[in-house]
């Protein structure tokens, strides 16, 4: 068995890879650091609106109002003095500050709900229109409700909102598939592009050309090694996300591995295309970066593509990393199967064919 060139070369290339500290750094360490940093930042929390309440009334009604506001999921409430809260608003620590006037609530002395019309002052941060807008509309609906309750008007129209996702999803659930996809892309593109260009430039490939080695055997050893690396990488990154950050992993793990393997094949083929074209590492690096950097930011790795302008959304629909990340995300977040994720798998398969044809045309031994 050990004299079978295909098996022996694969075994040796795994050994080489395990001894290559730079490769291990890029494959495992860096993606893990990215996941940990972004996981700790927890961008999901940033979606909350910071609301400061200044309660000048200090009565039962105002206390009830504050309590009610604290029950609103999208608001993070702080209370404080007028000066303190306005200061926090200017410093950007609050998105909105609400001032309940002294005459908030029933007029003193009256037994029943004898309200004077009252104006609640809201100050918001001009540079954060999105958060302020969300806060204002939330407040508006809250105040309407209070109005209804106080005036006794019957509510003819009510809005029943229901959360669509049954599970409580956080940013880490979004992030994990993104980082896994990004790591696979980097591994596929860079490991092949660099190691083959180095072997080509130094003449390692030429020396092998003087042996009866079948080129396909060498290529398959290199590809198998890196596909094993892709699987290991996926396993490790997913473990960190799930066991340390409590990320959701709804789908079948082997289905995710299959998506990872197919994505790995796509980016390996792209890597071979790059290494075929480039004569030196100095040419390979910028080319691999030109391919990978836009995808890193436009394929929904760190943030949703929903924030992209319309035309860019349409274009990025077809990026290979988009297919990979969305396939994995569909499985881990929604528990999709390979069958329900078929469009993304098809997208990757098409990219594989394209990349394979380019690689086949550009690849050279010397």
């Amino acid at each position: 068995m050990l004299t079978n060139p295909a098996i022996y070369l694969t075994w040796m290339s795994i050994r080489m890879w395990l001894r290559d500290r730079a490769a291990l750094f890029w494959t495992f360490f860096l993606p893990m650091v990215i996941m940990v940093i972004f996981g700790l930042l927890n961008f999901g929390e940033l979606g909350k609106v910071n609301l400061g309440i200044v309660d000048l009334a200090q009565n039962e009604t105002s206390a009830r109002f504050v309590e009610r506001a604290q029950g609103m999921e999208s608001l993070r409430i702080t209370t404080g003095s007028e000066n303190g809260e306005l200061d926090a608003l200017t410093n950007g620590r609050r998105d909105l500050v609400l001032i309940l006037p002294e005459n908030f609530g029933p007029a003193a002395g009256s037994r029943d709900a004898e309200w004077q019309p009252v104006a609640i002052r809201v100050l918001y941060h001009g540079s954060r229109p999105a958060e302020s807008q969300v806060g204002l509309s939330l407040l508006q609906s809250g105040i309407d409700e209070i109005n209804f309750a106080l005036t006794g008007t019957e509510r003819l129209v009510t809005l029943e909102s229901e959360a669509v996702a049954a599970r409580d999803l956080g940013y880490i659930d979004f992030l994990m598939p993104g980082v896994i996809g990004m790591a696979i892309m980097q591994l596929g593109l860079f490991s092949v592009a660099f190691s083959f260009v180095t072997m080509k430039r130094e003449g390692v490939l030429r020396r092998l050309l003087a042996t009866p080695l079948n080129p396909a055997t060498l290529l398959s050893a290199q590809v198998v090694t890196r596909l094993i690396a892709v699987m290991l990488q996926t396993l490790i990154l997913a473990s960190v996300a799930v066991f340390i950050f409590g990320a959701e992993f709804a789908g079948n793990f082997f289905a995710v591995l299959l998506a990872a393997g197919l994505g790995g094949a796509v980016f390996l083929a792209l890597g071979f295309a790059v290494s075929g074209w480039a004569r030196t590492e100095q040419q390979a690096a910028p080319l691999a970066n030109i391919v990978s950097l836009p995808m890193m930011f436009l394929s929904g790795v760190f943030f949703s593509r929903d924030v992209l302008p319309g035309i860019l959304q349409t274009v990025t629909d077809y990026l290979p990393l988009t297919f990979l990340v969305e396939a994995i995300r569909g499985m881990t977040v929604q528990g999709d199967s390979i069958i329900t994720q078929w469009p993304n798998f098809l997208g990757m398969a098409v990219w594989f064919v394209i990349a394979f044809i380019i690689a086949n045309r550009t690849f050279r031994w010397e």
């Binding site: 050994r15 180095t198 003449g203 020396r207 009866p212």
Partner: protein, 263 residues
């Protein structure tokens, strides 16, 4: 142009047969109709200035390059028809041989062996070139001379009947060069055929049964070193300076000894 010299040592059939090889690169006719034969067990050298076509000729015979026209066979196998079968029976040392990173010398040899579908023992191979002590080193950490010696060991993994050495002693110190000469003579004694290129004429004179001198892609003469020298003297050539019975190299070796310095 001289006709190929078919004088065979011991009357053996030629193990290498080359006829009318031509190879053109863009605007340079690198090899321009080269023909020769090498008998089994012979040490044969291609001599010539840089760019004369030696390396291209050798690489065509090794099956690494396709010729534009002409024919080459090694051990009866047509190189253009079955290059991999030729590669299976030959050993090759390239002008600059580089091997995988992150592997030990002994692992590289075992891996090369697997390519020939052979399970090999790296010890005798590395011992011949005095590198057994460094078996666990990686190729990159070797000195220039050690790399050269390792490339020689790597050329022998498949126990080849024909060995091609492209400038095997370029860059070696005199001690290592003499070790290399002994190694080559040892291979000849084992019945291997050796084809080499060199820029050192004393090396060709010392080692080779026959030499071919190339220039501009053609063989301009081919014979035993002695016959070529006799022929030159017969034309009335005289060295301007009488050769002294010792050379500077003899002085160098006398002072520094004959044993290898780098292990």
């Amino acid at each position: 142009m001289t006709t190929p010299n078919h004088q065979n040592i011991d009357g053996d059939a030629p193990i290498i047969f080359v006829e009318g090889l031509r190879k053109r690169y863009a605007d340079i006719q690198a090899v321009d109709g080269v023909s020769f034969t090498v008998s089994k067990g012979e040490v044969f050298a291609l001599l010539g200035p840089n760019g004369s076509g030696k390396t291209t000729t050798i690489e065509i015979i090794e099956g690494m390059r396709a010729a534009d026209s002409g024919k080459a066979t090694v051990a009866g196998i047509d190189v253009s028809r079955d290059p991999r079968a030729v590669k299976q029976v030959i050993g090759v040392q390239l002008q600059s041989s580089v091997f995988f990173e992150h592997l030990q010398l002994q692992e590289i040899l075992k891996m090369l062996g697997s390519i020939y579908r052979m399970k090999i023992d790296p010890e005798p191979l590395l011992t011949t070139v005095d590198l057994w002590e460094r078996r666990a080193a990686s190729f990159r950490t070797l000195s220039g001379g050690q790399k050269q010696r390792f490339a020689i060991a790597a050329a022998l993994v498949n126990d080849p009947s024909v060995v091609f050495l492209d400038e095997p002693t370029t860059g070696l110190d005199p001690q290592a060069r003499h070790l290399m000469w002994e190694t080559i003579q040892g291979w000849k004694a084992q019945g291997r055929t050796i084809v080499l290129t060199t820029h050192y004429m004393e090396e060709a004179e010392e080692l080779c049964d026959r030499v071919a001198v190339m220039d501009s892609g053609r063989i301009i003469t081919m014979d035993t070193p002695n016959s070529l020298i006799d022929e030159l003297l017969a034309r009335g050539f005289h060295r301007q300076q009488e050769v002294r019975p010792a050379t500077l190299e003899d002085v160098f070796l006398d002072l520094t000894g004959r044993s290898l310095r780098e292990f």
